[in-house]
């Protein structure tokens, strides 16, 4: 059974496009969103669109919706906060969420809240520059750290001088970027190549303010660090006096309330969080880090500002999220991971039954599926053929009522239930059969 027509949805989209560029508020369209779906209701893991179609939501708004829709305890906490005080610079909501983050996240000696991942990452770069009195930062291919001019898109054209530059046709490129902003500030290396990393540090380490990495390369296909890679990066940063920044926008909270860093046992100097730390209902980002670096904010040597930073509703949301997820030794997260693993097993089994090679890789909570027999070892392996096949499966799932995040990410939530798994099995079976036929036709 495919979904019913998208009549009301289409009509609404046409209405929006008259006043909203493209009918959307952001530019990275989902592969399955030929027309964005507009939802009218959400409960648990399910969403209902304007035409009455039901979906299993494994998209979770780019992973932010960790608690599931209409989570009772979370909504109660938000409503209580709204009833007390909404718009003040300081309130009595701050201490609890900050102390919870401090208790759980290894690098969180001190914490500042912001609103978006893009802006908080820029504050992290600013702090690292001020701390080291150096200008350049290192990032890695196929990682994503927000849409600011200095850090989005680009490619390296000369491996001996690994500076990212604009190239015409970059789908993560943008017109209007300030001239030379990437070339003047940054380097970019392939990830998971320890030899290249060591060579690079030997040559550039002493002039490097910071290195920023996703601890699991979720944006490149949920690829985990090779054994010892993050540990070696940590050693090199320490040796050269370079600030190590983990971007835990996606992994933070999803892999555990202590983030990927606690699970992997590698502690960065600074970490950026966002998305799921606010539970999925309100935007909050956070910059956490070592006291000696964060002290630059206290002394006001480094500016971090924003009208809504630390706003009461956001702080209440972080508190509720950490309380729900950390309770009883993270019981809710463990249950979510267990069900996510079951869902992934169903996907693999149904793909095999349909004759489609498919694996799932990455920690449960931030995993991706790929239409191949072997897990990817570095993001460069995610080529046209594989990405296309993944898109075909993702679009087939969407047609059959299962929403996947880009490109093939599976984001479970705390309310994922056994009934959801049953729903998934029935709908995935139909979708995978359809996808296998499409893939066979193209490749």
């Amino acid at each position: 059974m495919t979904l019913t027509a998208q009549t009301a949805n289409l009509r609404y989209h046409e209405r929006l496009k008259r006043v909203l560029p493209g009918g959307v508020h952001y530019n990275f369209n989902m592969p399955w969103e030929e027309v964005p779906l507009h939802f009218v209701d959400g409960k648990g893991s399910r969403l209902t669109d304007m035409d009455g179609n039901e979906y299993l939501d494994l998209y979770a708004r780019f992973g932010a919706m960790i608690l599931g829709h209409a989570h009772e305890e979370y909504l109660d906490a938000l409503q209580e906060a709204m009833g007390r005080v909404l718009c003040v610079s300081h309130c009595d909501f701050d201490a609890d969420p900050l102390e919870l983050m401090n208790a759980h996240i290894p690098s969180a000696e001190m914490i500042r809240f912001g609103l978006s991942g893009t802006e908080i990452l820029q504050t992290a770069l600013r702090l690292a520059r001020a701390h080291t009195k150096r200008n350049r930062f290192l990032r890695f291919e196929n990682h994503y750290h927000g849409n600011a001019d200095n850090i989005m898109g680009g490619r390296v054209t000369d491996r001996r001088h690994p500076v990212p530059v604009d190239f015409r046709g970059d789908y993560k490129g943008t017109a209007g970027r300030a001239a030379n902003v990437m070339a003047d500030q940054s380097y970019m290396l392939p990830w998971n190549d320890v030899e290249r990393l060591e060579d690079f540090f030997r040559e550039h380490g002493e002039t490097l303010a910071c290195a920023v990495t996703e601890p699991v390369c979720v944006n490149g296909g949920s690829i985990e660090a090779a054994p010892g890679y993050l540990e070696r990066l940590r050693e090199l940063c320490t040796e050269y006096g370079t600030v190590l920044i983990f971007d835990e926008m996606i992994t933070g909270v999803r892999m555990g309330v202590g983030g990927a860093q606690k699970r992997l046992g590698v502690t960065p100097d600074l970490t950026t969080f966002g998305k799921a730390i606010g539970g999925g209902g309100v935007p909050v980002s956070a910059l956490v880090g070592k006291r000696e670096i964060m002290a630059l904010l206290e002394s006001k040597k480094v500016v971090h500002a924003g009208t809504y930073n630390g706003y009461p509703l956001g702080s209440a949301a972080v508190k509720a999220t950490f309380e729900i997820l950390s309770r009883d030794d993270e019981a809710v997260l463990h249950a979510m991971h267990r069900r996510a693993a079951e869902l992934q097993s169903i996907l693999v089994a149904e793909a095999a039954a349909a004759g489609l090679p498919l694996i799932v890789q990455g920690p449960p909570g931030v995993a991706s599926f790929h239409c191949t027999d072997t897990p990817l070892e570095h993001p460069g392996q995610y080529d046209f053929d594989l990405m296309s096949k993944d898109i075909i499966v993702a679009t087939a799932l969407q047609r059959h009522g299962v929403l996947i995040s880009s490109i093939s990410r599976i984001y479970p939530n705390a309310q994922l239930s056994d009934l959801d798994l049953e729903y998934f099995q029935v709908h995935a079976r139909k979708a995978l059969g359809e996808a296998e036929r499409s893939i066979a036709e193209i490749f």
Binding site: W32, G169, F384, S388, I392, T395, F443
Partner: protein
Amino acid sequence: MDEEQIKAVLTKLIADEIGTAPGEIDEQASFMRLGVSSVQALKIVNRLRKELDMDINPVALFEFKTIEDISGYLAEAFD
């Protein structure tokens, strides 16, 4: 290959895929409006990248949704 040449190749591939004449294809209409599904679009771009011998990120297909947009994107990438 310039933008006009890429446009002509792409228009022909789309026309073949949906069984119509290239002259009937509106270059400014979105793939969806032309009746091209996402799977058909991938199929077309797969043929196109082989014909142009160039690396195309399939995600770009969903950012540039008309023949005109995609041809412009590819012409720049070709440069």
